[in-house]
Assembly symmetry: C2
Homo-oligomer: 337 residues x 2
């Protein structure tokens, strides 16, 4: 198979685009698409400072790489979830990435903000772990952006992530979730930073290929708590559709944005106020993060509280955190002729 | 496992309802739900004559049985597609069902209306077979209703059928298809009969169990031309969701009807006229059925035309029509304790 651009040997076939590329031309193709997405959706300009939320995985580090190489002013934000070895390894990847490029990286630990790391939050609440973790990340991202003077936070959500989220919301016909499914969430309050997803048109496989070809050292393992998550099953179902009919995921997501998103609205008009505890935005008196922090505080005995906050060494890892899963196939695939 | 109603031995577990029934109580449960659907959606009254489109399969014969036993005035309509042994066997099931109950059955052959049976139509057009066949069935159903003085046609579409159709339309965000996804399609023109789907809340497995428990002799094989159809893959994907989370299909379909259907509208307002050839409704000058008939006529040589119209014996069956597929599992399942 030949590269569509230069006629040289292709390393990656993109069935949904009915094309193939050599390594360098794929890197160019990928960057072009991401930067075009940033411009077309008016995500941010070169005058703005962008806070890039990085997890140490392929998507967010690929995003940071593209934005930095594209001439944007970027700062990384690593949120330390305190999930044992998984968090230690992913933090190290972010620090190495930033150090190699001389880019600033901010680190905020959930344990400091919440009083306990995610494993203890998991034990303290009946809320699904991914939900409590997502809430914490969104809260910390926004606060870090406000405190650091960043008007915009960019996250590494890719096409597969966005299509799976849309799939879940559509199965439930969750009007509020459908109304919010956008690659750009504008700042609707002075205390909200704009949130953007510049990779929403790039598939997980494409993002993995980019990170690999750019020699980015990223963490391949998935979060041990994500195992069995509904979103993973939804991704598998969408992958089956994509195998049979390449382009299905993009058609599903883009078709929604073009034809249906505008039809859905938040069930109740949202009036944002400031949390009486922390000053961040909320629809009630106390924000969801502060409520969760209270819940965690109540559930923990004093001795546990100290231990959880300092993130004990890996001898304390629960069985579910050992033997992390890997779902990475792309790195080997892209070398196939 | 015990019957929720009588405490006797259950033969069928309904995970999505978190319940189980013995045979007789399941039959009562099934009938109650279907007849309640007919009333709640105002599909038809006992004063109206209902034309029940029957294929010889479990769904349409179960529907006919429920409506007949429920005191409705029913006449069967069998559309002979001329698909070799498959059609011969399914027609025999419908005739036996009607004869046993002393109910009227009308038979219309596609070959007579179209000038060729479905296998020849398949060869004569580039349109997918299921699409040409669906068009022919809708056309014949409506004409038979009008000519016979039936205000309403009932079809055996079940929850799985409807959820799979909705799934396909949602993947494409096909606004017109989404706007038309309803269990009752009203007569929007004097030459259109109302179309209703009284089984849309009953799953395929439930319908199969009802037909089995009622001793209905139905055809288990699927149409040989349906193999590999996209709708079958969509059903498989929805079945995986249902296995993990019972009730998913019903939630998806009912959620759509409750919260989203009203948001979608036909892309262009439809103005119905009468076809200059046959007088049936169309949005153009000549209706899609007459156009397809012309196409079939042009494609066939004179000798073939005679042969196709009389539906040659099974020695002429193409390889794809031999070794019919069966997807029926429920009959054995329902005997599990």
């Amino acid at each position: 198979m030949k590269c569509r651009k230069c006629g040289g040997r292709a390393v990656l076939e993109l069935r949904r685009h009915n094309t193939a590329f050599c390594g360098p031309d794929f890197v160019t193709f990928f960057r072009h698409h991401v930067l075009e997405t940033v411009r077309r959706w008016r995500m941010f300009t070169t005058d703005e400072s962008v806070l890039v939320a990085v997890s140490g995985g392929k998507d967010s580090l690929a995003l940071w790489d593209v934005l930095h190489e594209g001439g944007y002013r970027t700062t990384g934000l690593y949120i330390d979830l305190g999930i044992f070895d998984y968090s230690r390894a992913s933090k190290a990847r972010c620090e190495a990435f930033a150090a190699e490029r001389g880019l600033p990286l901010r680190v905020v630990a959930v344990a400091e903000e919440m009083g306990a790391a995610i494993p203890a939050v998991r034990d303290a609440t009946r809320r699904p772990t991914c939900s409590a973790c997502g809430l914490s990340k969104r809260y910390i991202m926004n606060r870090a952006a406000l405190e650091g003077g960043f008007p915009v936070v960019a996250t590494g959500h890719n096409l597969d992530d966005e299509a799976a989220t849309l799939f879940g919301s559509t199965l439930r016909w969750d009007e509020s979730a459908l109304a919010r499914q956008m690659p750009v969430l504008g700042a609707t309050h002075a205390k909200l930073a704009r949130r953007v997803k510049p990779l929403f048109r790039m598939s997980e496989r494409e993002t993995a290929a980019y990170a690999f070809l750019r020699g980015i050292d990223y963490i391949v393992e998935e979060c041990p708590f994500a195992r069995g998550a509904t979103s993973i099953m939804h991704k598998e179902l969408l992958n089956r559709l994509e195998d049979t009919s390449p382009g299905s995921k993009a058609m599903f997501l883009q078709g929604f944005l073009d034809k249906a998103r505008g039809l859905f609205q938040e069930r109740e008009p949202v009036v944002l106020m400031e949390c009486v505890r922390c000053g961040q935005t909320t629809t009630g008196e106390i924000c969801a993060f502060c409520k969760l922090r209270d819940q965690v505080k109540r559930a923990m005995r004093p001795t546990e509280r100290t231990a959880a906050a300092v993130d004990l060494p890996s001898t304390e890892d629960p069985p579910s955190a050992r033997g992390l899963i890997s779902d990475f196939h792309a790195a080997s695939e892209i070398h196939a002729p």
